[in-house]
Symmetry: C2
Subunit: 266 residues, 2 copies
């Protein structure tokens, strides 16, 4: 599992304040904590820095890459911000995210191709969010086919079926699992990714539901997740799931996390 | 999910002592604790009562059914013990378990048919345990076909793919998930069941691995599990998994468990 740490997002008040005041020490520390907890990639989002997003995102990239070795997930719907962030990024970035919407697709595709980035492809288009598993697969398939036809390698595409709250749609959970299985079957080599938190919106003990959903999605073939790596129980269960799903050779990552005391209690 | 509480098994020293001394109060209390924690069915096993298993199992049935309303899972490879237990059982029992081995099959089948019991069908035969997912499906399919041809209704058959330790076989986990999916596809209406604890044999923090495996198996379509319902974290995650998998209408069981304080912390 590729773990994308989600904490450096200006939708969190503390992070917005750090970005506004250019508090490099606080941002660096948050990046380090996530990598130490097991994040493979760090998401950076400056979406609330209205009018100043490109510069803010570029600053985040420079600071975070000064603190950790991990590649970054450049999180913006704004091609200008992604362009500015890429100009500062070392190594292979992941762009989060492209959609089938014309302006967004045409704005981001040249950057994906020019920089050889990975790209998160959301299963949505001009007509909006997917209404069902079948619709997510249809929207996602069209987008993946366009990216492939533009020469983006399958393994650089991370298709996201978009998770809706089970409190609003009772089949939201199984729909995502069905979409993951269908997209992986249809496009071997293309990866799947999703965020976890939407699934539990409106219900108590959300992190318990998010944990169960992560394991279910992994069992369906999920390759990457955008999550909070400082949720120790979530990360412990993810390591256990990798082991029982045969994704962790000799249970090496599980045993390493155990020896480091990162799996907590039974 | 049908939860079969596994604690009344004489392989546990305390339970063996209760059975030997016919301590009805202790057995009743253990049965009640399991039902209060969410067990739908109580497994009773007197396998260590050598030479006295039929009488001991019958005693367990009488005591447990005097304490709780739940049906029982009569756990023995010995047709004589199952026969004796059934003579005392009220309602519809689940027999645990039949196999493709000739003596066991021929000894138990008449009891299943006569009493209209459910039956756990292990994916094993004269040649032994399954060597792979394909082998489990082959052995399980032959056994299910024989039971169906004898008139046992599909929904009374609980096929168990038999879980091996991931520490011994790296693909033990995914093999079980594959077998569950294949058996459910091949025999619509037939149910699947498994125990959890074997998967984690030989590894640290076994209950963490068992929890991850339960959710993965549920995502693959598992209908029933034999487990320790007093493992509060396991039961909380199972309720969360039912909710995210669309198996808990309006999240009613999840919310009921939450209000009863049975889901613990996030």
């Amino acid at each position: 599992m590729l773990i994308v740490g989600e904490r450096l997002n200006t939708s969190r008040k503390a992070v917005a304040a750090w970005v506004t005041s250019r508090d490099a020490a606080a941002v660096s520390a948050e990046a380090r904590r996530q990598v130490e907890a097991g994040a493979d990639c760090i998401d950076v989002n400056a979406g609330t820095a209205l009018g100043q997003e490109p510069e803010a995102l570029r600053w985040l990239v420079t600071v975070v890459q000064g603190a950790v070795e991990a590649p970054l997930c450049l999180d913006s719907a704004n091609p200008a911000a992604i362009r500015e962030a890429l100009s500062a990024h070392r190594g292979k970035a992941l762009i989060n995210s492209i959609t089938g919407e014309r302006a967004r697709f045409e704005g981001l595709l040249p950057l994906v191709k020019e920089h050889g980035c990975g790209v998160v492809a959301l299963c949505m288009d001009e007509a909006g969010l997917p209404a069902s598993a079948q619709d997510a697969v249809a929207k996602g398939s069209r987008l993946v086919e366009r990216l492939l036809s533009e020469g983006v390698p399958p393994s650089d595409i991370y298709v996201d079926p978009l998770v809706r709250p089970i409190s609003v749609d009772p089949v939201a959970g199984p729909s995502v699992l069905e979409a993951i299985r269908a997209l992986k079957q249809r496009f071997p080599g293309v990866r799947t990714i999703c965020g976890l938190t939407n699934v539990s919106f409106g219900l108590p003990l959300r992190r318990l539901l998010n944990r169960a959903f992560l394991v279910a999605a992994m069992a369906a073939g999920l390759d990457a997740a955008i999550l909070d790596p400082l949720d120790a129980r979530l990360m412990a269960l993810m390591r256990a799931a990798e082991a029982v799903l045969g994704l962790d050779r000799h249970c090496a990552r599980y045993l390493k996390a155990y020896r480091a005391g990162r799996l907590g209690e039974e």
